[in-house]
Symmetry: C2
Subunit: 419 residues, 2 copies
DNA sequence: GCATTATTTTCGATGCTCGAAAAAAGAACT
DNA sequence: AGTTCTTTTTTCGAGCATCGAAAATAATGC
């Protein structure tokens, strides 16, 4: 007898009429999330559900205040017949607060269930900010501003999500290390959750970058993408073909601190030879001015200074060109190692470093071609694009809204309608 | 209006009573696959389905010949009450042919639907085998032997699966590169499929290694594991925590040809600096005898010679110790790069190289500790284990049987029973 | 005011699960 | 041998969500 089969399946669970209903509700929500408001007929066509089911599900969700009819627009393109009534998200169903916490900047956004921005502010974060105050205090203080300025909306707050930089604990609730000084090992998720009475989750910025890029660029929808941020740090997110956006626990990498050359240049993290220690702004600056690679990294490099380096390289300055070459080499071999492990057909380079892509491109391509996978499977398509903020925000927002769709609103029992 | 949401979900599909039944049938099959034959009562408990549903599903599948009652065993442990009748796979429901095609060896196994080995043979593959014959001819010729020796079983052949070494096309039906000479770019899957009238699939050996290890070691069931083969090649498979075995398109890597040192030692693949060019048997041999690292690799290294190297290193020979140190360094930094990208909590080292683990261990641990992730997230647990053949076979067999469960037998409409 | 047309709802049938009760198949006891 | 007890397995009716077809709805065009 060979029942030596001991492997666990992924928590697979019994299917019944309840799970059918939940799944089809989620299907409707996810379709609306992607396509925007739709007439019931179109919704039936897009989801593959019958008209009868769409009617039933729609009635439920309208009664529950999850969806709303958009009766306003007259739609002049229509000729005859009963006019279509489009249904979309009920924007008053709730809202979420989104925080992007970065090395020297924080942005707070309040977004309703339909994905419309309600309120937003941005502020500079001093390098010693978290020496004076705890991360929890800092976040609660600013989130309270939302409460004061948007009383009505904040009554329906459903979720708070924070984008962070650094290494998260396996359970995703705790920052083990962060380039933001005094940030790691000072848990704040639970404190904030308690203060606002809603769940709080942490998300790695590099990963959101990847998911956001995918939402923003239709071409990446069904591709395996490595999204690389190059700026004051170097980060990467991965998304895989066939994965639904926002799904899968993969995708969070520590690309910037992958070791490029053992015993090499000194990195801000303290290790030697990280990709970041060759490709981040401080690394290029260091090399361009022939500072030894073992010298401690500059605390921060102003955008203007980085632009200056690009200009010098473009003007033909040998040392600066060399610095960008080393950066390209580090990124290129890093990417070649990535594609040796996972199948990435597209690469997006985002952030300030994308402005210098033309200075690094040759080295990146050489490095990619140097490995077997690059030669055999073909080189990925690399595209540089400077703005990364929109991608992070979009990634965070869509991830949270989709999560609410699937884990909260798809679940509500229809009995709630009659109560 | 912001319906700039264009991202595709993973082919999500309408759920109805049909998909409920399919999913629950799959749940039953997967439970039996893991646990072996079970009484209906236990099956209900394990799956979470009601007794009524187990009866219904069981009757269907018995009538369809997918399951069978095991009425034989008396089970003396029982005291009173109606005796339990265990149900298990109907071994005559079909069988699959499994081929492990390796650089100098091929093994053909015939396995029934219950996972019992029916027939097997192994043969040496000459280095010039595929100069003289095509891969398709070779495989058809030997698979025909099964047909002659197992007429009855082969009438119910359902599937042929081949484990290969090398880089597969994105659709997985075509070998783009292989260490087996003259193997790549000579497609054979379709020819064999035609000759035997069943589907044929190709599987990357490194990945099967990982899945097989997971079946064989209960400890790895719910872990993220990197399984490294060290021998005449260097290969790695990844399995992720939460993945069902056999699921997910991830897992196939080209670790051996990940570049360790740009411009470094010459690899069999023609590139410079691959991990394999430092850690495979031929690389250790080359370094141990102080042959320049740019010298062409030996075509093959007999097992006895590799054992001799280990003995020399154990005896304290400096050059050989150095060779194993370099190998450990390459593997260690490779692993450190892997854990910078994906979360791997466990590492298994399989193959002949596992015999030399004690000679490489210090270098591996040093390299892992050198990176930020290693320091912050903690080092993975590394265990060496020599035999890799069982893992490859088990991985291949379970993958195919599970696939049949989910994609074939879970699907059969119950109407087929009455026809 | 009536025909036309496209959208949406209603209605009856089907298929699946579930809980509870009934049936089945032995062991134990008298 | 017959009765009681225990455990496994099946049967039965209710509940629910889907679907296709038919009916109802709400406009336009003539």
């Amino acid at each position: 007898m060979n029942h030596l089969y001991r492997c666990q399946p992924l928590t697979r669970v019994v299917s019944d009429s309840d799970s059918v209903r939940r799944q089809n509700r989620a299907l409707v929500l996810s379709t609306l999330r992607r396509q925007g408001p739709l007439a019931r007929t179109n919704l039936a066509a897009e989801t593959g559900l019958s008209h009868a089911s769409i009617t039933a599900i729609g009635q439920d969700m309208l009664a529950q205040g999850i969806l709303a009819e958009m009766r306003d627009e007259p739609d002049p393109a229509r000729l005859r017949g009963r006019p279509a009534v489009r249904v979309g998200f009920n924007r008053t169903a709730g809202c979420v607060a989104l925080v992007e916490l970065e090395v020297n900047r924080a942005q707070f956004s309040l977004v309703d269930y339909g994905g419309t921005l309600i309120d937003r502010f941005e502020l500079a974060v001093a390098p010693d900010e978290f020496k004076r105050t705890t991360p929890a205090e800092f976040l609660v203080r600013h989130l309270t501003l939302f409460r004061e300025r948007n009383r009505r909306e904040m009554k329906a707050l459903l979720y708070i999500a924070v984008s962070v930089q650094g290494i998260l604990d396996r359970d995703g609730r705790h920052l083990r290390w962060s380039p933001i000084v005094h940030m790691a090992d000072r848990p704040f998720a639970d404190d904030i959750a308690q203060a606002f009475g809603v769940p709080v989750s942490l998300h790695k910025r590099g990963r959101l970058l990847a998911e956001g890029s995918r939402w923003l660029d239709p071409k990446l929808q069904d591709a395996s993408v490595a999204t690389v941020f190059v700026g004051s740090t170097v980060a990467m997110g991965l998304t895989f073909r066939g994965d639904a956006v926002g799904r899968g626990n993969g995708g969070a990498t520590e690309f910037g601190h992958m070791i490029h050359l053992p015993g090499g240049a000194l990195c801000r993290c303290g290790a030697r030879g990280c990709i970041e220690a060759y490709a981040a702004d401080y690394a290029v600056l260091r090399t361009a001015y022939s500072v030894p690679e073992t010298a401690p990294p500059a605390a921060s490099v102003p955008a203007s200074q980085y632009e200056g380096l690009i200009a010098r390289a473009e003007a033909g300055d040998r040392a600066t060109l060399h610095a960008f070459n080393l950066a390209g080499r580090a990124i290129g071999y890093g990417l070649s190692r990535v594609i040796s492990l996972v199948d990435a057909t597209h690469v997006r380079i985002l952030g300030p470093g994308a402005r210098a892509y033309h200075l690094m491109r040759a080295e990146i391509e050489t490095a990619l071609s140097a490995s077997l996978v690059g030669r055999v499977a073909g080189l990925p398509e690399v595209v540089a694009q400077v703005d990364e903020k929109e991608a992070v925000f979009r990634g965070l927002m869509m991830k949270i809204l989709q999560q609410l769709d699937e884990e909260h609103f798809a679940f509500l029992p229809h009995a709630a309608a009659t109560a």
